[in-house]
Amino acid sequence: MTDRTQNLDPEERIKRIRERRAASGAAPRGRRRHPAAKSRVLLAGLAIASFGFVGASMAATQSTSTVAAPAPVVQTAAVGVSSAPAPSPKAATSAPAATRSAPVTSTRGS
């Protein structure tokens, strides 16, 4: 479709377009479309995908290290039986975790 206002100067063109819209009864839009609407969707998808990828990578790394770990070591003096090769620094520095009564079988600090 050819725009008949194309050859006019910008101000006159805007005026004509407004007149045309007013004549057609089209109400002015309340909200302007975001200039980066498509990029927003793309970015949100990318962020969610990254979130999933990072989380899955952590889980995969964790399960790999658990599989590769040596045979379970029974710690008679410790709070429980641990399949971890060594207590993680995180667990060691975590006061609440250190005082837990439940057996610690996790290697989550890696």
Partner: protein, 189 residues
């Protein structure tokens, strides 16, 4: 759901929130420095705002994961009161302060038209503190702070932010005859 799932949610949420906040800062610096001339300011501004909002959302995910996960056992005081955590109080406290500053920047940006521009501008400068505190928090408090990939990412992104900040400070102010409404709405001057 596996018992470690929320732990991964917390860690991944924190990393993504940091990356988004860093991108928001870089996007904001791009608005004020125009280092890359190609993208339209309105497009950059729109994404800058969106990145900030998305960073807040992922900080929420980070907090949710920490609140639900039972490994460290964070309570509301650990999550919302700076330096009150039993686990690495200073390092975790920096993250809590960064969170409040991020929320302040976001809220003042949403209410920008209803407040004096100088107030908004002053609060907006806290974005730098958000980035620095968030980075230090991630490196020192986070389990992934020892990860080489994360350390390199922090180094590269910090270098970019530092470079753009220096450009902004040292570059002579350009005389812009007329600014577009999009620029007037949100470009830090």
């Amino acid at each position: 759901m596996r018992d470690q799932t929320w732990w991964y949610v917390a860690r991944a949420g924190g990393i993504v929130a940091w990356a988004l906040a860093a991108l928001a800062v870089i996007w904001g610096l791009q608005l004020s420095t125009r280092l890359v001339r190609r993208p339209a300011p309105a497009w950059v501004l729109d994404l800058h705002r969106f990145l900030g909002g998305l960073a807040v959302v992922f900080v929420g995910v980070h907090l949710l994961g920490l609140a639900i996960d039972s490994f460290i056992g964070f309570g509301p005081a650990d999550l919302f009161v700076p330096f009150a955590s039993a686990y690495k109080p200073t390092e975790v406290g920096l993250g809590v302060v960064a969170m409040y500053l991020l929320v302040a920047v976001e809220v003042t940006s949403l209410l920008m038209k209803r407040m004096p521009r100088q107030v908004w501008h002053g609060v907006h400068y806290a974005s730098y503190a958000v980035f620095v505190l968030g980075t230090v928090h991630g490196l020192l408090a986070g389990t992934d702070g020892g990860d080489a990939l994360f350390q390199w990412a922090c180094l590269i992104v910090s270098g970019i932010v530092l470079y753009m900040t220096l450009v902004r400070i040292l570059a002579p102010k350009r005389s812009v005859p007329k600014r577009s409404p999009a620029e007037r709405a949100g470009t830090p001057s």
